[in-house]
Symmetry: D2
Amino acid sequence: MMGNRTPRVTIWNEYRHERAKPEVAKVYPEGIHQALRSGLTPYGFDIRTATLDEPEHGLTENVLNDTDVLLWWGHGAHDEVDDRIVDRVRERVLQGMGLIVLHSAHYSKIFKKLMGTSCALKWREADEKERLWIVKPAHPIAAGLPEYFELEQEEMYGEFFDIPDPEELVMVSWFEGGEVFRSGCTYTRGQGKIFYFRPGHETYPTYYREPVVRIIANAIHWSAAERGAAPQFGNAKPLEAIRGQG
Amino acid sequence: MMGNRTPRVTIWNEYRHERAKPEVAKVYPEGIHQALRSGLTPYGFDIRTATLDEPEHGLTENVLNDTDVLLWWGHGAHDEVDDRIVDRVRERVLQGMGLIVLHSAHYSKIFKKLMGTSCALKWREADEKERLWIVKPAHPIAAGLPEYFELEQEEMYGEFFDIPDPEELVMVSWFEGGEVFRSGCTYTRGQGKIFYFRPGHETYPTYYREPVVRIIANAIHWSAAERGAAPQFGNAKPLEAIRGQG
Amino acid sequence: MMGNRTPRVTIWNEYRHERAKPEVAKVYPEGIHQALRSGLTPYGFDIRTATLDEPEHGLTENVLNDTDVLLWWGHGAHDEVDDRIVDRVRERVLQGMGLIVLHSAHYSKIFKKLMGTSCALKWREADEKERLWIVKPAHPIAAGLPEYFELEQEEMYGEFFDIPDPEELVMVSWFEGGEVFRSGCTYTRGQGKIFYFRPGHETYPTYYREPVVRIIANAIHWSAAERGAAPQFGNAKPLEAIRGQG
Amino acid sequence: MMGNRTPRVTIWNEYRHERAKPEVAKVYPEGIHQALRSGLTPYGFDIRTATLDEPEHGLTENVLNDTDVLLWWGHGAHDEVDDRIVDRVRERVLQGMGLIVLHSAHYSKIFKKLMGTSCALKWREADEKERLWIVKPAHPIAAGLPEYFELEQEEMYGEFFDIPDPEELVMVSWFEGGEVFRSGCTYTRGQGKIFYFRPGHETYPTYYREPVVRIIANAIHWSAAERGAAPQFGNAKPLEAIRGQG
């Protein structure tokens, strides 16, 4: 990607709940994307935003080509995301763009397409406590974090979470109602590095919480790191003599 | 799946090359599926076959519901496989059907859909030698195998192979022309266990070779093993009292 | 190992608490090893037991050579296990003997030696509830299990658990007091397959519980499976001509 | 570890062959450690060296406490490394020091202790060609590398390599004589990040080769990255009320 260049981040948000539901607007008056932008700005990223109702959902070829890491928050309108834009995002991921999938975006078209599974899970909205335990403190996404942190009120997501085994499992959540969840999971697809991060229900101020913002900032750095050469595919000449060919 | 029941295997073959190309017909006169059937029969499986040009490609709901493990060989006609059948197969895999993906089926719709990547690779047809090294001898798919085995002539597949990191890497190939390849790779998707196995170009008698047949038989047993309970998804009642809810 | 032969199981138990502490003797009057033996017998294994205070801790060369899978329960006397016996067990594991490490044996010499880490964790004895969630229902160790099961009273073990990343994470525990734990973890070392399974504090009747016994039986089958050829190490002749050597 | 601080690197070398064997002295007149130091200096690390025959092998408490990443090259004198120093190094790794294990150090006490396996392999000294293929180009250790690179003459190491499954497999080698090898492998032990890197036989100028030096520099950055909080172990108070305890 970019050696030591400042990562160029695009925060994509469905941005419907905030405009339609007063209880969400109260928490995120300018939208989840703007709250994330404010929280991440001190980390020194080059940030832009994009939303569902912009032309091409704000994800033009130009925008994606200028993006090192894409954040994705969606919930009620996954089906309204144009398949052509999904394919465009997927291509960029396979070529090396980072992707950070937030909360209810477990059910986004782009995440399901990259995972190959249903990405289904158990859920409950009951204002319950979540405690996230770091199970891989050596991982760069855990940099600077305490052993665990709590969110006083969150939506519950419970196992079985129908995802491929994470390459690295960074966090596991404990829920007051009795469930556990693999809450911080890394994947590689092509040259692209993907991080799924569970918290972030739209009716709670989760994205203003420091450990949450720090994790997302860590994941941006992790997924924006420089890559090896783009692979060559297709018919290949031999690098050594082959006997059968004289 | 089935505890100690005999695994019910369906061998799916595109079955076009064998009918159209004399050099392939010479090697597999009744089709690759029949050669595999003959080789696997002594292992005691309950085997049927299905091919592209049958109605519903031979993969009706009934056939899939009666299948514990599906083998898939395809090459030139991936695009002719009906998307509805692909979705049907995928559903069964997520519910626990095993899937063994053979050679050029790395580019099949079903494999790409379950992997989420391009599944692209390097290739060359040059009658060259392949030597497969077992790098995980403790894996059940390696049961009874020597440390390595050779195929005197095979098509070359070379890295970078654009797949997700295998959960378990069982075999790595050495090629005469200078490449290496991750040739035996396991994955889990939902309840389904998937094995990708590289060898098997249609112009070579690979599927008559003992180590090759043994590996496929091992993979059938591995992918047909009994599962845990089918997961429940969706809204879930709490298992413990939640304070906020009195 | 042994194809379809009945697995030969040796249950090793420290067997001190049961003789010294009335509250333990009440739960396991003949020792944890005998309780496990009784529970596992209906599964059709060929079982023997061994304990710390027998000569060579009951783990002679002959016993180990006749063992396909070794179960290990220890707690207060890890240091009394002779290093020569530990090395002997380790050699057999590397050569293909299965090893099932139970509860407080996370701190046994043999487990620490095979893991390379401290195997430290958080713990608490508070008669609290544990709920084990299956996070890999396709794994053979989960065969026949429900989505989760509960132990009304257990000792708590909490993260961070200082183990290498499991190859496969099969279970995650929820604890009433607020912690989570990776409770079912698989590893391969050499040709040996290892399963760490958390529950089993000596003051609770955990090893009489059906899901617990079933998991151990599943793990025995999983770790006893046939292997590939024993690897050859050391100086190796080339398999292909090397130019520099004319 | 250290956020954006310059990584403090200690290069440890057995430094015997270079003094005893003219054919090695010709290639590395000041020792492998000095060649590595020269190659790595332009990357801006804070580098020191240490060798076997210094007091405490040059690895005093102070030196290790001032080290973020330790490189280790050893071959003929593994047994002369004091077990107390090995334990000291291991403690620092578990607490978060990076460790880069080079070539014949696969058989070092420290690597075997951290892996838990024999770390045995096949080998051959035959001036043969090695070609290293990148199989995970998205990994930071592959940053800036081509798809593959060649070493005209190297010692052969061949599978089966008796190591635990790597967490991430970054490189696979092809050898002229017919073998393959997992040549770039990552592990986590405690808070420490470990990279095993195959090339580097003492009679070849491998450590002057640009891709080799770049890989080691990448691995230093990767293993020096900031960590999460140091875990707390031992008896832990509950974070939630436990019913049984009133």
